[in-house]
């Protein structure tokens, strides 16, 4: 899997994809955690609606999600303008690709974290409370370490999805070399033209290698976490 047969433009796509997937997975982690906590523990009206909203990117065709993102965060939309003013322009920028990837991966991440949260033994939280730990401390010192497997799993899913995401990304931020042309976009573009299969295959292999690396890292981390608890 050396780079000899990848052109510089392809390497650029690989590096960009890696960046986009990594940042998307990292940035969405706190939001995913918050949403998962609200869904697992919260008892608020509209909880089911919120759950549905979180699942939406899974249910809708990616193009629709991308279109909705364009409507909400396009340069003309209020949200887009506000972020732009805050120094975080999204339109046709890699940051937009990050948003698209994060949104598409969000339901997967939330579900993974939520399953872990639901498995946390409430009796340990009670014990922490009687030892003087407030809610926030219980969360940081008991819940968070115990849901590490779910966070890791959510992170891996989001990273993998970030590598593979294409429909929403291209619809939202197009396919601009060096800015928003990710591996997935590039593969898609190659497949659109007759004879592009070879280049598409090479990029596919790179993509698999990247995700395999992420996966191995996460499995290794998960085993360390599990070993800490068992030993």
């Amino acid at each position: 899997m050396t780079g000899a047969w990848l052109g510089p433009a392809e390497w650029q796509a690989v590096a960009l994809s890696f960046k986009v997937a990594l940042v998307a997975a990292l940035v969405s982690l706190p939001f995913g955690l918050a949403a998962a906590y609200a869904l697992a523990r919260g008892r608020f009206p509209g909880r089911d609606l919120f759950s549905a909203l979180v699942h939406l990117p899974l249910v809708l065709p990616p193009v629709v999600t991308g279109y909705l993102l364009l409507l909400a965060f396009g340069p003309e939309a209020p949200a887009g303008r506000a972020l732009d003013a805050l120094g975080l322009p999204l339109a046709f920028r890699w940051t937009g690709a990050v948003l698209a990837a994060a949104v598409m991966a969000f339901p997967l991440m939330v579900r993974a974290i939520r399953l872990s949260l639901e498995a946390v033994d409430a009796r340990l939280e009670e014990a922490a409370g009687t030892l003087g730990a407030a809610r926030a401390r219980i969360f940081a010192t008991v819940i968070l370490p115990l849901i590490a497997p779910g966070l890791l799993a959510g992170w891996v899913l989001a990273f993998a999805k970030g590598l593979g995401e294409f429909g929403a990304t291209i619809t939202f931020v197009a396919n601009i070399p060096g800015e928003t042309r990710t591996i997935a976009s590039a593969i898609h573009a190659f497949l659109q033209a007759p004879g592009g299969e070879g280049a598409a295959l090479r990029l596919t292999l790179v993509s698999i290698a990247l995700s395999l690396a992420a996966l191995l890292a996460s499995e290794w981390l998960a085993r360390r976490v599990a070993a800490r608890i068992r030993a």
Binding site: R123, E126, A127, A128, G129, T130, L131, A133, I229
Partner: protein, 362 residues
């Protein structure tokens, strides 16, 4: 620093709690059969169970009051609770489990106290380990240490010694006695072992089916022949006030009671100190005339104050020895043969070694 508890709570269609008692500084034992509601009461006091109605207050300040809408979360109450199961944090080492409370409360480290507790519990070799591999008794000890180190305003112990061997119990009990005597905090103690309860507790709350059957000073309850029905006749006994005298070179210490002097091994209290001495009813032998040539050193001159026939072949004899009450459990056959009747003077024989350290204190 007295804990006041009075609440009702419906746990299920078939089971409701309805309790009211007070726990002043010192040990208050919750005693009762399995399923009586002891652990549920502790949960309510700790703030883990929200009663339907009632009031729970510490030193006059309510931590829960349904009428006033007060309900402090557990961490604001600072009531320590050693649960019936260890509930150790699986992801933290034993040492970090022990220190969890202090860190949560922002208390400064207290290496001396930590070392003392680790030593007392015999968990020094386990500090670096994770809870998963601990034996049942090891985990129970770590859980006790974790609660003690957090320096709570109130300590609740739910059958803390159930998984411990007798030798370890004998190491922890004196420590708890010191804590009780010096820290001035209320301790709620759940145990199925009456000797333990008799040794530690100044007050007993007897529970059954979610209610308080009886509550009062341990000496009264343990010496009350009618409470024997709930405590189990084999466990009844009296608590007498003793004053420590000198300790002979052979290790026996004189303890003076109103009705005579006892010679007891293993007394650690200083000379002159007042200590309560529990004498189990089944450890007392009665003699019409003071016997001679007997290995038992301890004899008290008493007078029969009452006879209580229970079910079965036993009789509970209430004695009055120099103004204090003593209980003796003998067979009906002996009572008849000896012609026991109220007012009869006789000698109560107590084997010195039958009063072990587990029956001293109070």
């Amino acid at each position: 620093m007295t804990l006041e508890v009075a609440f009702r709570h419906r746990l299920s269609a078939g089971f409701a709690l309805d309790v009211a008692f007070e726990a002043p500084p010192g040990v208050t034992a919750l005693f009762g059969r399995s399923g009586a509601g002891k652990s549920s009461v502790l949960r309510a006091v700790a703030g883990l169970l929200r009663p339907d109605e009632g009031r729970i207050a510490m030193a006059g300040a309510p931590v829960f009051d349904s009428a006033a809408g007060v309900d402090l979360p557990p961490h604001r109450r600072r009531f320590g609770l050693v649960f019936q199961e260890p509930r150790l944090f699986p992801h933290l080492s034993v040492l970090r489990n022990l220190r969890y409370g202090r860190r949560a409360l922002g208390l400064p480290a207290n290496p001396a106290r930590e070392a003392e507790i680790v030593e007392m519990l015999g968990i020094g070799a386990l500090l670096a380990r994770r809870p998963a591999g601990l034996s049942g008794g090891e985990a129970a000890r770590v859980a006790i240490g974790r609660a003690l180190l957090a320096e709570p305003r109130l300590l609740m112990l739910d059958e803390p010694f159930a998984a411990l061997d007798a030798a370890r119990r004998e190491e922890i009990l004196p420590w708890l006695e010191r804590l009780r005597d010096h820290a001035g905090l209320p301790i709620l103690f759940v145990s199925h072992s009456l000797p333990e309860v008799a040794r530690l507790a100044a007050r007993i709350v007897l529970m059954g089916e979610g209610r308080v059957l009886r509550a009062g000073p341990a000496a009264d309850l343990l010496a009350d022949p009618e409470a024997a029905e709930f405590l189990g006749p084999r466990e009844a006994g009296a608590v007498l006030q003793g004053r420590v005298g000198r300790t002979a070179p052979d290790g026996l210490t004189e303890v003076r009671l109103a009705g005579g002097t006892l010679h007891l091994p293993g007394v650690t209290a200083a000379a002159g100190a007042a200590i309560p001495v529990r004498i189990a009813a089944s450890d007392v032998i009665l003699a019409l005339t003071p016997p001679v040539g007997l290995s038992a050193l301890n004899m008290l001159e008493c007078r029969v104050a009452g006879l209580h026939r229970g079910r079965g072949p036993g009789v509970m004899v209430r004695l009055e020895c120099g103004g204090e009450a003593l209980l003796a459990r003998i067979t009906a056959r002996s009572a008849e043969a000896m012609g026991l009747r109220e007012g009869l003077a006789l000698t109560a024989i107590v084997k010195s070694v039958a009063i072990g350290p587990a029956d001293l204190g109070g």
